[in-house]
């Protein structure tokens, strides 16, 4: 019953023993041993791609484990859907909230479990049940307010109350404070502590290390799908967490950086650029220089790239290529010599249902067609020579979807090579790419720079940025918050700049 659930919750002990999971043969989690103590806040930290989300989704029933065991109160469990996990008392508050905007606070809290009389919703009981839950959390929200118009923080409270109404004993919170102001963050921290004090388990996933250290009782560090260590929060510090998340360098997987003429010509000059998700960005890229854009996912790196490329409208500021302002459209950007290899090759890069040949020539058809007529021979030779340069072998009449992730990425690089460019932007060039192809892609990037092209590399992999770039710009909240070159270009410096304290950020 909802109002009893809010008082003292039934405790739930969730454990993982040797849990593993892989996607398409690529292991994303291996041998995870985890014990989530009831009545505690357990934080999961790690870089992007370390396996935090996968781990939480295994617990919440979105994914099933492939190896190892999931134990609930000591008994082996297997959820085939989030619904089953929810029935056992495991709820997730995701980054994207799942509320019905048209309904009221109370209706959302009891969505799908409204108290009924003869099939009709009993509004009086709905209200009474709501007030019971609201009281136990200390949230002051108007039960009759429509959720759609509320602030994110308040909507989050509705989500939490809904989890409580469903009798959740373990609540997973994925980046709960990412969208909150400083004040709301403090409030939410109070709620988290209260949830733990009432005997529930809170699994906290957060990029903000100070928050993690402040709130969590126990911290688990993940790296590359492996559990590095689980330790009491009192034994960890900012730097010990960062060290654990980064681990040791894997040696030289990167090619030598080409020399940049420091007096080299400025290829790209961005001045006070404002666009969706970009708030006043200025920087230069010189000919032959590789500049890295580091920062967390969602910090605004891709948004900067799209604003430069003209694929989103620029609200203010200028983008110049060799001193000439760009026209703000994609065809214009291509004409002025900019090429973007987008973040998601399947959604933004390739036409998967079409042959490799069509894909590699797509953005420069003029070269293989005269007067709109595609010459079969020229097309075949152009495609072959591009694919040879990026080392993709085999019949190019196959669908591009038949290629591995690495080779698909190379096809996009092939597109970039079809014409001489002045600026190449590569957004997450090695995401989902196997280790073998990775080096080939790094070589391509370095080769471009050596040919005098300015290169902008965006990556969530700090090691990659440092390994490739001459200079790194750190992006946070749509602005550049740090610039490191030479010896200052260390993982610690970059990570520290990227992981901002949310409270400091909010009061800025």
């Amino acid at each position: 019953m909802p109002h009893t659930a809010a008082a003292v919750a039934p405790q739930l002990l969730v454990e993982l023993r040797g849990a593993g999971k892989s996607f398409g043969g690529v292991p994303v989690l291996t041998g995870i041993d985890l014990r989530l103590e009831p009545g505690s806040v357990h934080a999961l930290v790690g870089e992007n791609g370390a396996g935090k989300s996968t781990l939480s989704k295994i617990i919440s029933g979105v994914y099933t484990i492939e190896s190892g065991r999931l134990l609930i109160d000591g008994e082996e469990a297997s959820f085939s859907s989030p619904r089953e996990a929810l029935d056992r008392g495991i709820a997730t508050i995701a980054q994207e909230l799942a509320l019905v905007p048209e309904l009221t606070v109370a209706e959302n809290v009891f969505l799908g479990r409204e108290p009924r009389t003869l099939g009709f919703i009993n509004r009086r009981k709905l209200r009474r049940d709501y007030l019971a839950i609201a009281e136990s959390t200390g949230f002051e929200l108007d039960p009759d307010a429509t959720v759609g118009g509320m602030r994110t923080a308040d909507q989050q409270k509705v989500e939490i109350m809904r989890a409580l109404a469903r009798g959740a004993s373990l609540i997973i919170m994925d980046e709960p404070t990412a969208a909150l102001s400083a004040h709301d963050t403090v409030l939410l921290h109070g709620v988290v502590r209260q949830l733990a004090a009432s005997g529930r388990t809170v699994v906290l996933i957060s990029h903000f290390l100070s928050e993690v250290l402040d709130l969590a009782d126990t911290i688990t560090i993940l790296r590359d799908g492996r559990l590095i260590r689980t330790a009491p929060a009192s034994e960890e510090t900012d730097s010990s967490l960062i060290e654990g998340m980064l681990g040791r360098s894997l040696g030289s997987v990167f090619p030598d950086k080409p020399d940049v003429v420091s007096q080299g010509e400025v290829v790209l000059r961005v001045t006070d650029l404002v666009a969706p998700g970009v708030y006043g960005v200025s920087f230069d890229v010189r000919a032959g220089e590789i500049v890295g854009l580091a920062g967390l996912v969602g910090a605004g790196r891709s948004e900067i790239a799209h604003a430069i490329f003209g694929s989103v409208a620029i609200a203010a500021g200028t983008v110049e290529i060799e001193g000439v302002e760009t026209s703000g459209s994609i065809p214009g950007a291509l004409k002025s010599g900019i090429f973007l290899i987008p973040e998601s090759r399947k959604e933004q890069g390739l036409v998967l249902g079409r042959p490799i040949r069509d894909n590699v020539t797509l953005s420069n058809m003029g070269q293989i067609a005269t007067g709109g007529w595609v010459s079969a021979g020229v097309e075949r030779r152009a495609s072959r020579s591009l694919l040879d340069r990026v080392t993709v072998a085999g019949d190019d009449r196959r669908n591009v979807s038949a290629l591995s992730g690495g080779n698909q990425q190379k096809v996009l690089f092939g597109r970039a090579l079809q014409r001489s460019r002045k600026l190449l932007i590569a957004d997450e060039p090695t995401r989902g790419v196997d280790v073998g192809s990775r080096r080939a892609i790094y070589d391509l990037i370095v080769e471009q720079a050596a040919n005098g092209i300015g290169v902008l590399v965006i990556s969530s992999d700090v090691e990659e940025v440092i390994g490739l770039a001459h200079r790194v710009l750190v992006v946070r909240g749509g602005t550049i918050v740090g610039e490191f070159a030479g010896r200052a270009m260390t993982e610690e410096n970059i990570i520290t700049a990227a992981f901002a304290d949310p409270i400091m950020n909010g009061s800025e």
Binding site: G24, E347, V351
Partner: protein, 340 residues
């Protein structure tokens, strides 16, 4: 923005199934096999089927619909859909007929033909602009447009007829368009042949054709590759409208009275879409070909023709066609599922 690819099942390698099964181009075979099967069955089952006269008649009657369907195939591949082609077809026939009745003579015929085709082009351009720049889903946009066009048809036709009845244009200055038989084959069949080849080649071997596939296959990727997706889509709608205009004019010359029955418009739209889908062009865009649509439309026509020749109750035509569409689309979904 995704959290990270590794944590999503999307990152899975795009392979699946046995390689030997994958190499067979299932989708290419989809229409060819049943087409040949029905063709052979009818040739054996009905002596009247495989005669120059019967085949010639079928082709002559199908020329209009083939023209419309070929152009509508481009719309579908580019990621759109046009439900207004039937209405446009009727609208342009009425415009053409009204002008011929009003102006008369050779001038009337020439003006009528030009005005009919132009009207189709204008409707197509409107469809394109509404469903791209105005961001109205093409299904809804062209559905709404077809009601508007049907209304406009009735408005125009009042000027072209006396009293009740249909616009009749039984004048030799115009009817030569349907009655001439160069090399023993009707002119409409020749026109359809030329249109089909031109559209097929455009799709197969031109820059524009590549853009059509890219726009429908992955609009965002096409846009980031520098393709003006909206312009490409509008052009396909304009082609479909023009084709509907041409077909309306040709069929007016054939019959020679302008149809004014909403059901005819609806049936034409449905048959065209059925032919495209049965041919194996994906309703989701990005895949397909003109030759497939030709086989699809002729398959349906042959089926109907066979029903008549074999004296099967026409009642079963609709049922059979409906089931064939379900099988065709089910097959399409199955082959897509196998690939991913």
């Amino acid at each position: 923005m995704s959290n990270d690819t590794l944590e999503k099942p999307r990152a899975a390698a795009p392979f699946g199934g046995r390689p030997s099964m994958r190499r067979i181009p299932w989708r290419s075979l989809a229409i060819v096999v049943p087409f040949l099967a029905v063709f052979i069955a009818l040739t054996i089952g009905s002596p009247a089927f495989f005669s120059a006269q019967n085949i010639g008649n079928v082709l002559d009657r199908q020329s209009g619909i083939l023209i419309v369907a070929a152009a509508a195939t481009l719309v579908l591949i580019a990621g759109g859909i046009d439900l207004s082609i039937g209405a446009t077809y009727m609208f342009t026939a009425v415009i053409c007929g009204t002008i011929i009745v009003r102006v008369g003579g050779e001038t009337g015929a020439a003006l009528g033909i030009i005005a009919g085709i132009l009207a189709g082009l204008i409707v197509g351009l409107l469809n394109g602009v509404i469903s791209t720049y105005l961001k109205i889903n093409p299904l809804i946009a062209t559905l709404a447009m077809s009601f508007i066009i049907l209304g406009a048809t009735k408005l125009v036709s009042q000027f072209g007829k006396e009293g009740i009845g249909q616009i009749r244009v039984d004048v030799p200055e115009f009817r030569w368009l349907a009655l001439t038989k160069p090399l023993g084959v009707s002119l409409p069949t020749w026109i359809a042949l030329v249109v089909l080849i031109v559209l097929g080649v455009i799709l197969w071997r031109t820059t524009f054709g590549r853009y059509v596939y890219a726009a429908g296959g992955n609009a965002e990727a096409a846009r980031l590759a520098g393709i003006r997706v909206n312009v490409v889509r509008i052009t396909t709608f304009a082609l479909a409208g023009t084709a509907a205009g041409l077909a309306g004019v040709i069929d007016l010359a054939r019959t020679p009275s302008a149809p004014e029955n909403d059901a005819i418009a609806t049936t034409l739209t449905f048959t065209v879409l059925a032919g495209i889908v049965v041919g194996g062009t994906s309703i989701l865009g990005g895949e397909g070909a003109v030759w497939r649509t030709v086989l699809g439309i002729l398959f349906i026509a042959m089926l109907y023709n066979g029903f008549t020749l074999l004296r099967i109750d026409p009642l079963f035509q609709g049922i059979a066609l409906g089931m064939i569409i379900l099988v065709a689309v089910g097959f399409d979904a199955w082959s897509k599922f196998r690939r991913t």
